[in-house]
C-alpha cells in the first residue's frame, strides 16, 4: 500500500491510501478515521474540524487559525502507520426492504435484457449479496455500496435521468445505492426502498455509516406501501431493520 499526503488548499489535506475501490483500502480509511475521532475526543487535535472518509482516502479539515498542515501531520504520523495495516471492522448489519420492478424499478426489464437474464434472476442477484457501505456522499445520506455481482455490472446509462425519485435503488458498474433525495441520476433503477436514509431530526441523521453492511429483502408493492405509511405515522422505526450482529455499534461508538 502506498500512502500519500495530498494538499487540498490551506485548510484541508487528503490522506490517500490508494486509487481503487477495495475493501482493504476502506479498512485503512475507517481505521484512521476512528483513530482520529478518538484523539479528537481526547482534545489532542486542536483545530481539527472534521474528517471525510471515502473509498480510498480520508480528507482532514482544519482551522488554519488554530493549527496547520505540518502540526497535524506530525500528530497523525503514528496513526497513519497503524491504519495502513488495519483489518476491516465489522460494521452494523442492515436488512432493508426493497420493492423491485414495475413503477418502483423502471430499469429492471432493461437490465435483465442487458445481462441476458430474467427479471427474477436480476432480483436474486441484487438480493444475493450483502453490500458494504464504502462511503456516503455526494448527496446527504447517499450510500455508495458494493460490490455488485460480476454478472450484474453495467456502465451508467447513456442518458442520465433528470429526475430520479427519492428511495430509488440503483446500480452502476460495481456499485449499488439508494437515492435519499429526488435528484438527477445516471444509474439503473431496479426498485425502491421505503426507509428514509436521511432525517435531520435524528441524532445521527444518516441511517447508514461507512463500513455498514446492507442486504436487501424483496417486498411486494402492498407491503412497501404499508411500511412507508407505518414509518410516516411513527408506528415503525428505521432501527428495526438493523441486525444485532456482533460489534454492531463499534463503528458508531468510536465516533
Amino acid at each position: 500500500m502506498s500512502l500519500r499526503l495530498l494538499d487540498a488548499g490551506d485548510a484541508a489535506f487528503t490522506v490517500e491510501f490508494g486509487n481503487a475501490i477495495d475493501p482493504a483500502l476502506l479498512a485503512s480509511v475507517n481505521a484512521l478515521d476512528v483513530a482520529i475521532a478518538r484523539e479528537h475526543a481526547a482534545c489532542r487535535l486542536p483545530g481539527l474540524i472534521e474528517t471525510m472518509p471515502t473509498f480510498r482516502s480520508l480528507t482532514v479539515f482544519f482551522d488554519p487559525l488554530v493549527t496547520g498542515r505540518g502540526a497535524l501531520i506530525d500528530a497523525l504520523q503514528p496513526l497513519l502507520a497503524a491504519a495502513e495495516h488495519a483489518v476491516p471492522v465489522e460494521g452494523r448489519h442492515w436488512c432493508l426492504p426493497a420493492c423491485y420492478g414495475g413503477e418502483a424499478g423502471p430499469d429492471l426489464t432493461e437490465t435483465a435484457r442487458a445481462i441476458g437474464a430474467s427479471e427474477d434472476e436480476v432480483i436474486a442477484l441484487h438480493c444475493g449479496t450483502e453490500y458494504r457501505v464504502y462511503m456516503l456522499g455526494f448527496l446527504p445520506g447517499f450510500p455508495f455500496m458494493g460490490d455488485v455481482a460480476e454478472s450484474l455490472r453495467l456502465p451508467r446509462r447513456a442518458e442520465p435521468r433528470v429526475r430520479v425519485p427519492a428511495g430509488s435503488i440503483a446500480i452502476a458498474t460495481g456499485l449499488t445505492a439508494i437515492y435519499p433525495w429526488e435528484s438527477p441520476g445516471g444509474w439503473h433503477l431496479l426498485g425502491r426502498c421505503p426507509v428514509p436514509l436521511f432525517d435531520a431530526r435524528r441524532a445521527s441523521p444518516s441511517l447508514l455509516a461507512a463500513g455498514d453492511r446492507v442486504r436487501f429483502e424483496p417486498v411486494a408493492i402492498e407491503e412497501y406501501r404499508r411500511i412507508e405509511a407505518a414509518l410516516q405515522s411513527g408506528e415503525m422505526d428505521p432501527q428495526q431493520w438493523l441486525g444485532d450482529a456482533p460489534g454492531a455499534d463499534a463503528v458508531e461508538a468510536a465516533r
Binding site: A8, I21, T54, T59, P64, F138
Partner: protein, 359 residues
C-alpha cells in the same frame, strides 16, 4: 408592548437565502457546510446591528432584494458594495451600504444593485432562527436550515426583534472587491495534468460563465487536458476545489457543492480567496496564482486579522453631533435635509444603472 415585529421578504431578487458560518461535522454523511460565501460581510453586517458576528444573515446575489418592516421598527445593515434605498410614507431616500438603518413600520429597504461584486449580506437585529444540525444555514437540496429549508421567497416573514433604538452604526473604511489573481494551492490531483497544462492554468485567463451560484462557478478558458484517465475513484471535495471534468473547463466548488466527486482536482482556491472568486460576475476575468499550502495558512491568518480590524472599526454614525440616521427614521425631516446629507446621491435608473458597473 405589542408582539415582536417581523421582516417581510417583499422580493428575493436573483437569489437570497439565510446563512451563517455553516454546518460543520457532517461532510462524512454527504452534507456540505453551506454558510455564507463571504464570512467577512456577515461579520461586519452583524456588528453593524449589534448581533453576535455569527448570527444568521440574509445573503443575496446582485440587486432586487426588498425587505419590509411589519408590526414595528426593525434595524438592518447591508454589507457589500450595494446601492440601497429606503421607501416609506411616499418618499424614498438613498443610503450607502456599510451602515445600519432602522426601518419604521411598513418602510421598505431595497437593494437596487451592487456597484462591484455579486454578493451582499443583510443583517437583521435580533433575527432568531432555529438551528438544524448545528446551523441556521439554508441547504435547499436537503431542505436544511433557513425557513423550512428553502431559499427566501416573496411573502415570507422572518421573526425580528423590535429595533433597540440608539444611534446607527457604520463602517468607515469598507473592503472592496478586487480583480487581482485568485490564489490556489496545487493538488490534490495536480499530477493528473502535465507541467505545461499547469502552466497554462496559471498563465491563462478564465471567464466566469453564467453557471455560477452557491454550489460553484464554471469557468471558461484554456482547456486543461488530463494526462491519462479523466475520472478518478471518487474522493472528498472541499470548498474551493477546482474540478476538471472531461471537457477541460474548470469548475470551482463553493459552499453548497457536493462533498465528493470523481473528477481530478487540479488545485484548491485558498479560503481567503473563495469570497473574492464568488464576488466575480459572469463575464468577468479570473486569473490564478499558485501558492504553497503553508503560505495559504499564513494568508488565512492575515485575512482574519484584517477582518477583526474591520469589525473593530465599526462605530456610531454621527455627523456634527446629530445622529442623521435617527433623524431619517423619525420621518420628521423632509427632502431638503436629505439632499444636504453627505451620503445623498441621485439614483440612476434601475434598468440602465447596472450595465456599466463591471470592470
Amino acid at each position: 408592548m405589542s408582539a415582536a415585529p417581523s421582516l417581510e421578504v417583499v422580493a428575493p431578487g436573483a437569489y437570497a437565502s439565510l446563512q451563517d458560518f455553516g454546518r460543520r461535522g457532517f461532510r462524512r454523511i454527504g452534507v456540505p457546510w453551506a454558510g455564507v460565501l463571504d464570512a467577512r460581510l456577515m461579520r461586519i453586517a452583524n456588528a453593524l446591528v449589534g448581533n453576535a458576528e455569527g448570527a444568521p444573515v440574509i445573503e443575496c446575489f446582485d440587486g432586487g432584494l426588498q425587505l419590509a418592516a411589519r408590526g414595528g421598527a426593525v434595524r438592518l445593515a447591508v454589507a457589500g458594495d450595494a446601492v440601497v434605498e429606503v421607501e416609506g410614507a411616499g418618499e424614498r431616500r438613498a443610503l450607502g451600504s456599510w451602515r445600519s438603518v432602522t426601518l419604521a413600520e411598513d418602510e421598505v429597504l431595497r437593494i437596487r444593485r451592487l456597484d462591484r461584486g455579486r454578493v451582499a449580506v443583510v443583517a437583521v437585529e435580533g433575527l432568531a432562527l432555529s438551528m438544524v444540525m448545528g446551523s441556521a444555514s439554508t441547504y435547499a437540496r436537503a431542505a436544511l436550515g433557513g425557513v423550512d429549508g428553502r431559499a427566501l421567497a416573496a411573502g415570507l416573514h422572518l421573526p425580528a426583534r423590535a429595533a433597540s433604538g440608539g444611534s446607527e452604526r457604520m463602517l468607515p473604511d469598507p473592503p472592496r472587491p478586487d480583480a487581482g489573481p485568485i490564489r490556489v494551492v496545487p493538488g490534490p490531483q495536480a499530477d493528473h495534468f502535465s507541467a505545461a497544462t499547469l502552466a497554462a492554468f496559471v498563465d491563462g485567463e478564465y471567464r466566469v460563465t453564467t453557471d455560477a451560484d452557491r454550489m460553484g462557478v464554471r469557468l471558461e478558458g484554456p482547456v486543461l487536458a488530463h494526462v491519462g484517465a479523466r475520472e478518478i475513484v471518487s474522493d472528498a471535495t472541499v470548498p474551493g476545489s477546482i474540478q476538471v471534468p472531461g471537457n477541460g473547463q474548470p469548475i470551482v466548488l463553493l459552499a453548497d457543492a457536493q462533498t465528493a466527486g470523481g473528477y481530478p482536482k487540479i488545485a484548491t482556491v485558498i479560503g481567503a480567496d473563495i469570497p473574492r472568486l464568488a464576488a466575480r460576475r459572469p463575464g468577468e476575468a479570473v486569473r490564478f496564482a499558485m501558492v504553497e499550502a503553508v503560505e495559504g495558512e499564513r494568508i488565512a491568518r492575515a485575512a482574519e486579522a484584517e477582518t477583526r480590524a474591520l469589525v473593530a472599526g465599526v462605530k456610531p454614525l454621527l455627523a456634527g453631533g446629530i445622529d442623521e440616521a435617527a433623524l431619517y427614521s423619525s420621518n420628521l425631516v423632509g427632502g431638503v435635509v436629505h439632499a444636504l446629507s453627505a451620503e445623498y446621491r441621485p439614483l440612476p435608473d434601475v434598468e440602465t444603472g447596472t450595465s456599466k458597473q463591471s470592470n
